[in-house]
Symmetry: none
Amino acid sequence: MRVVRTNVRSEKSMEPGLADRIRAAAARLFARRGFHGTGMRLIAEEAGVSIGALYHYFPSKEEVFLSVLRQEYDQRLAEAQGMWREGVSAPEVVRRVVELHFASITAGHESGRLLSQAGVGSPLELALQILALREEYATCIADLLSQAMQRREIRTAHPLLTAYALLGLVEAVTARALAGDGTADELQRVGPAEVAEIAWRALRPDKEE
Amino acid sequence: MRVVRTNVRSEKSMEPGLADRIRAAAARLFARRGFHGTGMRLIAEEAGVSIGALYHYFPSKEEVFLSVLRQEYDQRLAEAQGMWREGVSAPEVVRRVVELHFASITAGHESGRLLSQAGVGSPLELALQILALREEYATCIADLLSQAMQRREIRTAHPLLTAYALLGLVEAVTARALAGDGTADELQRVGPAEVAEIAWRALRPDKEE
Amino acid sequence: MRVVRTNVRSEKSMEPGLADRIRAAAARLFARRGFHGTGMRLIAEEAGVSIGALYHYFPSKEEVFLSVLRQEYDQRLAEAQGMWREGVSAPEVVRRVVELHFASITAGHESGRLLSQAGVGSPLELALQILALREEYATCIADLLSQAMQRREIRTAHPLLTAYALLGLVEAVTARALAGDGTADELQRVGPAEVAEIAWRALRPDKEE
Amino acid sequence: MRVVRTNVRSEKSMEPGLADRIRAAAARLFARRGFHGTGMRLIAEEAGVSIGALYHYFPSKEEVFLSVLRQEYDQRLAEAQGMWREGVSAPEVVRRVVELHFASITAGHESGRLLSQAGVGSPLELALQILALREEYATCIADLLSQAMQRREIRTAHPLLTAYALLGLVEAVTARALAGDGTADELQRVGPAEVAEIAWRALRPDKEE
DNA sequence: TATGAATGAGAGTTCATTCAT
DNA sequence: GATGAATGAACTCTCATTCAT
């Protein structure tokens, strides 16, 4: 059951290919209903294609899920790496990445929910692949953290562990901010600043270093 | 939705009642395989009871899951509140709660994995109840944080948000530490100290206050 | 699986025995919910006894049902035979038996519903026993009809067939009269007279005989 | 409750579609074993299709049953209405409809048994729908009776009540004629004539009118 | 006698996947 | 390429019945 990278961008035309339509539909449904709550029939209907078409572009439901997840991680990673390459300072990167996470849930994309679901409640083999994907993402973040440590922009710590800690921290708060009650609204308002503050305090170098 | 019989402690003998055996088996399986990956038949086999017995003690699979979750949260909460009432200082509480989280996974209970799964990949109604349970837990932690803030033991911040942040932070790292590879072993070693450090830096009052 | 006749009347005391309490409860439930819709647990609760007690008095659910059915048939038969022995004329017997059927449903006993259910939707072996019970009842009616034919009070016809025809006729109308809508009320009002008229016309001797 | 696909006649070939095969198998089994005695697995086997196919054509077991019932009622109704439209006289219609009922059981279709089961021993909601179907059928017969009354071909009486009486009458005798013993054979022989006689005497106008 | 915890076969239903067209 | 009818293993849950106490 190897990973298959289907066309992220249609090669021939401007309009999105069927694979993209399917991925977009699946992303919405997985985020709202989870892996098991989302049937292939439902994805096909939401995407406006037949079940046969689904299986033409993706070998299995698990691959649909992984494809969606990969896309989400890639987007987030591209943003962070882009900023980093442009020379944005460490605390500023932290602040803006946190902001982006909150923005994605406020915009109703609900992709934040998708990420925090990753790896749980899934068939065993799928769970492993999801963890691998998450590891890939976390490793990239750990790389950025390592570079920042060498430049003394953030304090010295275990990079991968810190990366996971940051991910968990942000995801837990954004997940709560998606609940839809009054508290959720409040967290959406104060969340970006508060979470960035927490993250930065956890990362900043000691005063006299 | 009938009331669940919960004989947490058998009255006559030392050996645990069937309800406890079931809960323990379910906790193991849910942690390893998630809600959907764990069938009632499997739980019955793991607990060494019949399916009928399962439904004698719990009205549905969802109630089994919630019962397990409730038990885990209650245990953790009791530990933290116990320490707090005994007058342990804030940084020490943080350090020891983090230690306990890591200890529970090292002991093979895998309950840490269970908690981080909470609320995802589940039937919609169940997801809401899981979130409610998590909120209850987070609220208790937020209460402790509020008290610590009033005593100037930790810095002033949004208590509930901070509670969720701490939960997410710890869970993300412990989840990674359960993967079973070399990195996981490393995280189990350095995790307690590093995570406590991150948490304390995020919480500690500013120097001149 | 032989038929067991349990105490129809308690031998020692005036108050009804447990067997009677169970039969009464079962009669209510079977009439309202049918054989499959009525569980042993429910019967036990309605009768205010334990499941163990149920199985102490009746060897199986099927026997509970048969016992209830037998009781109903016996009652109806006793009424008809009583009238007949008292020398009531044939058309009058017809009229009053029909009236009694309607009266039993108007009084809310719902036993009428029970009889019209008999023999259908039941496990195969039970269905045969129910048919046997019904045959017993029909045979008794056929006997009465035979006697009336010999006295030239009703026309000559196949007695057993006529008995079944009368049963079916009355049961179909009473079943409709139990539906609970406006038409049902109307049928409860006009039913006794109209059904008796139909029955009598089907039975009465030809004018010049 | 989704719409049932009912391809009553296959478009391309002569052989019946799967839905018809399923309906036919279900009709046989329901007639012999009742609603609860007939499992979906059994229907699938009898029809020579998979369980999945069953659920592809019918959303639930209840809908299979209702579909079968509808088919039976429709057939009978079409016969009676056809004769009526062709100007067959009232007593002749009665005689031939009764004959048809008996013919259907002699032919081994056993559909007669199915109709007399209608509405009993079924889940509550299903029972209501069955009664509704039966009411529909009875109402059509009542219409025919009304027309015959206006033409003075039969005596004046409550049309709907009379319709139910006729149904019950015929069904009770045919049900007994299906028991398989010697009496059943006898009833199959004399039944058509005797039942038609009973029905006609119940319906015929008074001599001097 | 009387209890109700425990059993487990079997129920209706879902859904990822296949494949002839 | 595209379709959707067909498959069947696996699911959660029910309930008549047993038996140690």
